[in-house]
């Protein structure tokens, strides 16, 4: 079953604009990770945010985590055509060496040149 649910399912914006994607989940987590996937290829890791963190930045990416609302957001600023991809959030539940990443359904982002 999918723990994370991304919103929106699809997003089209003009190049240069900012893109915001949201992720909601159901159970307590150890960390939340965001990934990018181009055309059904392997997943590229973007950011990991731990449950005791509220915000992280990496280049043009900003991720927030609200554990009280069980939600996270990914902001991509100054979007580029190369940002066109599917974006997934994945929640990690870790317990004594046992780790399971549960992915959402993804947001399909299209950047219009």
């Amino acid at each position: 079953s999918q723990q994370g649910e991304e919103d929106p399912q699809a997003l089209s914006i003009q190049e240069g604009e900012n893109a915001t994607m949201n992720c909601s989940y159901k159970t307590s987590i150890n960390n939340l990770q965001w990934y990018r996937q181009n055309s059904g290829r392997g997943l590229v890791h973007l950011i990991l945010i731990r449950s005791n963190e509220r915000e992280k930045h990496s280049g043009r990416l900003r991720v927030t985590l609200d554990t009280s609302k069980k939600s996270s957001s990914l902001l991509i600023t100054a979007s580029r055509a190369a940002d066109t991809a599917s974006y997934f959030c994945a929640t990690a539940i870790t317990n004594f060496g046992n780790e399971k990443l549960t992915f959402g359904t993804g947001t399909r982002l299209t950047i219009i040149p």
Partner: protein
């Protein structure tokens, strides 16, 4: 440094056959996980191995099995293939549990 590698990249099988997929983790990574991604969906967790022991199993039938070798590489085996097993199979490695998982390019399996 080389990333996670998987072989083969593509595979075509017929129903009832058996398949073995292989994964080599990033050097130094001791945890390997396997995921199945059906077209249009997010990846689904199949197995996690850490230090050569199975540490987690997703909701997949017993036709799916895996193992991790002393060099931390891993194999995923699927018996009695069904049409519904057609998917992209992804392998991911991490230093240890609780850390970032790095994914390989995947093996695309088509069952006819």
């Amino acid at each position: 440094d080389a990333g996670v590698t998987q072989s083969p990249t593509h595979l075509i099988k017929t129903r009832g056959q058996h398949v073995t997929l292989r994964c080599s983790p990033i050097s130094g990574h001791k945890s390997v996980s396997w995921y199945q991604q059906v077209l249009g969906q997010g990846p689904q967790f199949i197995f996690q191995y850490y230090e050569k022991e199975e540490r987690g199993r997703g909701n997949f039938p017993d036709r799916f099995s895996a193992r991790q070798f002393p060099n931390y590489s891993s194999e995923l085996n699927v018996n009695a293939l069904l049409l519904g097993d057609s998917a992209l199979y992804l392998c991911a490695s991490s230093l240890w549990w609780g850390e970032t998982q790095y994914f390989g390019p995947g093996t695309r399996l088509l069952v006819l």
